[in-house]
Symmetry: C2
Subunit: 455 residues, 2 copies
């Protein structure tokens, strides 16, 4: 089957999905969970095949140990976690069919703005095969059709998971209109470049993976991309910051999970904090947490004098900042440090070098905090809070589609709401535009109360 | 000044605009109105210069009369309309600073989702110079900086209008932080291609103009584009339609303003309507309104038999449909006609050939209407209503930024709400992620009542 045909099938499936009820969507999800359980052996066999092939690649030094580990869905409680993830999604509220505006345009013409699925999603991801299940269920719950493309290391697992999901959908009762083409998978890189051209059929691309994957996609499609390439988050320590909060937040933001996009990569320090022990306490907390500090001149000499000269282990971790460090997502126990004159310079630095993801200020001064949070252009602007909170589960969304650094549609951690848009539904009685306007019928434009909704 | 510098200035202006109050924005708009009035002579002089140059182009056959007419802002009440448009925008509610989510993540950690300006807009438009004023005011009211590029025929008028607006902004009292770089203008095509590359500084492109202009922009930038290239709207006459409504709606949708994007280009007719006089009545109404019908075989022979054979004028306007007619925006007194088996085929035709703009069904059957409105993938799905209602003013938005056929961010007629996005503001007390999770502190995720908002 051609990729064009597959994309067209996804579009047709998405039309069927428009009329599906929340109960039918949950029925499909629970059926998927059941069939995944029933076909556990098939899935594990496919996963073993991928792992065997990957093991050879690891031996040849062509695949990293951590990538190999992500490939595995058999060991520990990983498979159970995947299954419980499916039931969790059934418990979320239906993001579609919500009326967000209702206007009486005339006595016999009502206008409603109603949330609807975006349509067809294309998800491109790397090693973790559980994304097949997770994103398929998020897509179905929000009424979207989805085309999946996973990493080549997980080819067999991905294909089997997609097949099992399709079988589950095909086995739904006649009364449930969700077609199995609501979830489809492609395997080659050529398929992807063909799909990225099909803005006629595909409404949104949701990449999940490395910076380079996301950048490649952003540069090669006109379809809107929901996600983020970089996560360059900063913590700014203000002159009126609390020292305990400053140390705790800096350490947590950097070390709680350094590989996450919401980990801090830059520490901005008000110059006054170098006139006391304030910044040396924060520096020491970071050094004790095995963080390497890549410092500008003044912070390097301050920290060396306060900490480095008396301690070789510290000294080796107090390093000079290099070109590009303030634009680098280290994803490691490394943080770039810069001394700034004031909050204004901190904001400017972040707006110039940050990735509009999440930035935090540590201060006890509410006015300074508001200045920072208002002027920093980021999806998350935090006061005395670690950047690590930028996450759909922590925000209470129940599920996370991804974190977006876009300036349109959806921003920050994105839950199911990011997979819907709206349409206007007008209910008339033969109304024509020629009847309205100056000297003719006026528009009412009255809000319709929810109790009077009629759609 | 380089285009890069100009775009960077716009970005810096947009940061200043983040903290501006609604009163300050309205103060700026009223100041703009006042200075436009004061500098009316300068503006008319510039407009005369453009019109003189354009007149020569008209004589040489290089510019159409209608384009020349659009250029003129001196005659009639055009200038007054521009000025009253400015005061109208001051009366609209501020789309920013609205809290759309408020969650107590923990007793000492509050999370708010608050609407904020998108940032920097780039607007590219054609002959009408009033767009300079209109879009600048919409941008300012929504807290966005804007870079403008108009058509070359209106170069002098556009430049003068932008200069006057900048002068007005520069003359604001010290207390008003809106910088004059909030509105800037560029003049050359090279500037535009450079700006379309600057996704680092520009957040959204709002083209206003021809299909080819919009398509060019969509194909040449990674920046999100708000707008529509095509407006291929359809009216579907169902077998259970009311004949009076059918004729009125078909005629209004086609002829009320054929050059508009919300005019109908395709008429889909249930086959049963050819078994009676139903469709000949509709056809006659269209023919009487000087519409040419480009018909498929069955509708052509039906209409020819019923109307054409006895009337030469009718006959000449009943023509065979040609390749591509169902994908064409005629923008004229021409409509493509197709007979369909049922509502399902009508929906399929629209989803294949339409431009996701606005489509209408004429039927007295509520179930059929719901089927159509649910399954047609368009920004507007109408029941017994002319497609011509797809318009920001008719929807009651007070102003229209444009009509979007996008599937993300903003869809259909777009008011000021389409120029804002949101950010998350978190207010903590030194909260770190490491303190939460299984075996540690739980998340509350309680909604915060508006009366308890503290931000």
């Amino acid at each position: 089957m051609s990729v064009q045909q597959l994309a067209r099938d996804a579009r047709l499936a998405s039309v069927s999905l428009q009329s599906v009820t929340n109960e039918q969507k949950n029925e499909a999800l629970l059926r998927i969970k059941q069939v995944l359980e029933e076909r556990k052996d098939d899935i594990f066999q496919a996963n073993e095949k991928d792992k065997q092939l990957a093991e050879e690649q690891v031996k040849l030094g062509k695949l990293s140990g951590s990538l190999f580990k992500r490939l595995d869905i058999c060991n520990g409680d990983k498979f159970e976690t995947i299954l419980s993830g499916v039931s969790d999604i059934t418990k979320l509220p239906d993001p579609t069919k919500k009326v967000t505006m209702a206007t009486k345009v005339d006595s016999d013409l009502s206008l409603y703005r109603v949330t609807v699925p975006v349509g067809v999603l294309l998800t491109i991801f790397e090693a973790r095969p559980e994304v097949v299940v997770n994103i398929s269920c998020l897509a179905l719950k929000s009424g979207n059709a989805v085309i999946l493309k996973g990493g080549k290391e997980a080819t067999h697992t991905n294909a089997m998971l997609a097949l099992v999901i399709q079988d589950a959908l095909a086995s739904l009762p006649e009364s449930n209109p969700i077609p199995k083409t609501a979830v489809q998978i492609v395997e080659t890189r050529e398929d992807i470049s063909a799909l990225l051209d099909l803005d006629r059929y595909i409404d949104m691309v949701v990449p999940r993976g490395s910076n380079s994957l996301v950048k490649y996609i952003q540069n090669n499609t006109r379809i809107p991309v929901l996600g983020h390439a970089d996560g360059i988050c900063s913590v700014y320590l203000d002159k009126e910051g609390d020292i305990t909060k400053a140390a705790r937040i800096a350490v947590d933001a950097k070390t709680n999970y350094p590989a996450a996009c919401n980990a801090a990569e830059t520490l901005l320090v008000h110059q006054d904090l170098l006139k006391s022990d304030f910044f040396s306490k924060v520096g020491q907390a970071l050094l004790d947490a095995q963080v390497t500090l890549k410092c500008d001149t003044s912070s390097q000499s301050y920290l060396t004098e306060k900490l480095g000269n008396s301690n070789e282990a510290y000294k080796s971790k107090i390093q000079p900042v290099e070109d590009g460090d303030y634009d680098t997502e280290f994803l490691d126990h490394i943080i770039a440090v810069k001394v700034v004159q004031d909050v204004n310079e901190a904001v400017e630095h972040i707006n110039d070098h940050g990735s509009k993801h999440t930035d935090s200020i540590v201060t006890e001064n509410a006015t300074t905090a508001d200045f920072f949070m208002t002027r920093v252009d980021a999806a998350g602007c935090y006061w005395n809070t670690s950047t690590r909170f930028a996450d759909g589960f922590r925000y209470g969304f129940g599920a996370e589609v991804g974190v977006s650094t876009n300036k349109t549609h959806a921003r920050g951690p994105v839950g199911l709401e990011g997979l819907v848009i709206y349409k206007y539904r007008a209910y008339g009685n033969g109304n024509i535009a020629a009847d309205y306007g100056s000297g003719k019928k006026p528009f009412l434009h009255d809000a319709i109360a929810p109790s009077d909704y009629h759609l």
